[in-house]
């Protein structure tokens, strides 16, 4: 019972502390952007700070597992696979579960805390991979769809256009003619074209609205036969080149970048675009 009480009283605070520390750590090291959109940084960090203070405060006032306290009856049922319908009679005794069940519940809680600790603190933060691209159809949506303007005129400055901007233009139907003479400089991770993975890859980025869960991949196709021997999937590259009609007959992309230069780069500090 000692073990069960210990776990019951401390699991919530332990998890809160883990999550708060992980959040602040990510914030301090500038890696919060791997998980959430920058517009939530301030709110998230403030609440993590409050959570941290409250947790420490609660740790100080909550009685130890050996002491008695009026909240004792409270420790059951929150996680347990307890689907039984209680009746009004045993409300008073609710929570007084058999020791074995209580022990099982505590063990589950310990596993949850351990898993959270590993996921939040031990595993180094990382961005999403090409496996997620396959799940979420590259350019299947584009957050910029609503605000991408007409194809840029020849006098417009496109040097600052990102992967997202070009992907939105191409998705809107801008053809190689519309974009001819345009040179793009794009940085993103490498992900193979679904239909012609030997000759075409995408320079891709994830667009994050709120958090990594809603990340949508966008990308610009690049025609470069044999690319995979020098640039592994998920590695980061910077491509400079002009737009052309796609020479590949297999690939569904109509417009591609023919690289003048293609260099491997480090993953940027903010791998997602917003």
């Amino acid at each position: 019972m000692f073990f069960s009480r210990l776990v019951t009283r401390w699991k919530g605070l332990a998890l809160t502390l883990l999550a708060a520390i992980a959040t602040v750590w990510l914030g301090v090291t500038g890696q919060l952007g791997l998980y959430i959109n920058p517009r939530y940084y301030v709110f998230t960090l403030i609440m993590a700070g409050i959570a941290f203070v409250l947790t420490i405060g609660a740790l100080l006032v909550i009685p130890g597992p050996g002491e008695d306290d009026e909240h004792d009856h409270e420790h059951a049922g929150f996680n347990g696979p307890d689907g039984r319908r209680p009746n009004a009679r045993d409300v008073a005794g609710a929570g007084r579960r058999r020791p074995l069940l209580a022990f099982g519940g505590s063990l589950t809680a310990v596993v949850i805390v351990a898993a959270a600790a590993v996921a939040l603190l031990v595993v180094p933060p990382s961005s999403l991979t090409s496996a997620a691209v396959e799940q979420r159809s590259l350019n299947g949506s584009s957050n910029t769809l609503a605000n991408a303007g007409p194809p840029p005129g020849t006098s417009d400055d496109t040097s600052a256009y990102s992967v997202k901007d070009w992907a939105a233009l191409i998705r809107q139907g801008a053809s190689a003619d519309d974009l001819s003479g345009r040179t793009a400089t794009l940085t993103g991770f490498v992900t193979p074209d679904a239909d012609d993975p030997d000759n075409v890859f995408y320079v891709a980025r994830f667009v994050v609205t709120c958090c990594a869960v809603d990340a949508q991949p966008v990308g610009v196709p690049v025609y470069s036969p044999g690319w995979s021997s020098s640039y592994p999937t998920d590695s980061w590259v910077t491509v400079t080149g002009a737009f052309e009609p796609n020479p590949s007959v297999l690939s569904a992309a109509t417009t591609v970048v023919r690289p003048d230069s293609l260099t491997a780069v480090d993953q940027p500090a903010e791998p997602y675009v917003y």
Partner: protein, 313 residues
């Protein structure tokens, strides 16, 4: 804690290279849900403590009208004042039940609040404006469903049995009768509520991450342009994505032209009320049986509203 930090700092950077890409994505997505939801859960727990401990006993209840329908309508509108999305509403709802609000009335609050909270309304307006009646359908539909759920459960003969045993026991304690200073009680309440909410959040985030890795979205999105299937597919998407109601409008807007408005409305109504993360969080309070009933009821209503929108616009 220090040991864990030390492991991370001392371990070679590439020690996770044995993990497959989907495994890494699973961790990234689950952590992302936790980091994104944590502030709202903490805010919800704090508001819950304010309702229970800092407001005088019966402060809210005394002011509510006696007529049940009127009372529930008012409670379902309470969310307009609270910029808390769905994960924060669960601890707040628990606080309301503990303070003496009936289970049925609390449900009306729980399901309406994430949809009519001010941030949600503003972001939905920014995303869709007045197009296709999406904003109006969302607000009106959400309020109707929440009041319907409240109305149905108000007829329940033994509403206490809708709650888990552990939570029933928690309700049996009068928060105002507890001893200690308010600050101390707030901290104890924080410890207790975090013990209920945090494990549920971790499990919900894990399941959400797992399903995201396992289920391809492409199929759901392909179905999005069919009048009937768009509604069902987008509800399924809302269920597995488990995205915060404050920003779900931007998320679904990113698919913009692909989907029919009815599907979008169903997504925007169903998602804030029922999704994987919410089920895990609500499981701290309601029995499985209650959650199944409520989920089916809300799903049917949301689908009906979505189909109606598709027919009208």
């Amino acid at each position: 804690m220090l040991l864990l930090v030390a492991i991370r700092l001392l371990a070679p950077a590439e020690w996770t290279s044995w993990m497959t890409d989907p495994a890494k994505d699973f961790v990234t997505l689950s952590v992302s849900v936790i980091i994104e939801s944590l502030p709202f859960v903490i805010l919800g727990i704090l508001l819950s403590a304010i309702v229970q401990i800092w407001l005088p006993a019966g402060f809210l209840l005394r002011r509510l009208p006696r007529n049940p329908v009127l009372r529930r309508s008012l409670i379902s509108l309470l969310g307009v004042l609270l910029p808390v999305c769905e994960c924060g509403n669960v601890p707040l709802t628990r606080g309301l039940i503990v303070s003496g609000l009936s289970v049925a009335d609390s449900m009306a609050f729980l399901f309406a609040a994430p949809i009519i909270n001010p941030i949600t309304i503003v972001t939905t307006y920014q995303a869709f404006g007045w197009t296709d009646g999406i904003l109006i359908s969302r607000i009106v539909g959400g309020l109707l469903i929440a009041n319907l759920v409240g109305f149905i459960y108000s007829a329940h003969p033994a509403p206490q049995t809708l709650l888990t045993r552990g939570f029933q026991a928690a309700c049996a304690v009068d928060p105002h009768a507890e001893h200690g200073t308010r600050t101390r009680r707030t901290l104890i309440s924080f410890g207790r509520e975090s013990a209920a909410m945090m494990p549920a959040l971790i499990v919900g985030a894990g399941v959400a991450g797992l399903i995201q890795v396992a289920v391809s979205r492409n199929l759901l999105i392909t179905l999005g342009s069919n009048p009937l299937w768009s509604v069902l597919a987008l509800m399924a998407l809302a269920f597995i994505v488990a995205i915060c109601s404050n920003v779900d409008a931007f998320f679904i807007l990113s698919f913009g032209s692909t989907f029919l408005p009815g599907g979008i409305v169903a997504f925007l109504i169903f998602g804030p009320m029922i999704d994987i993360k919410m089920l895990a969080l609500m499981r701290t309070t309601f029995t499985v049986r209650t959650l199944v009933q409520v989920s089916v009821l809300i799903a049917v209503c949301a689908a009906a509203i979505g189909l109606a929108v598709n027919l009208v616009f």
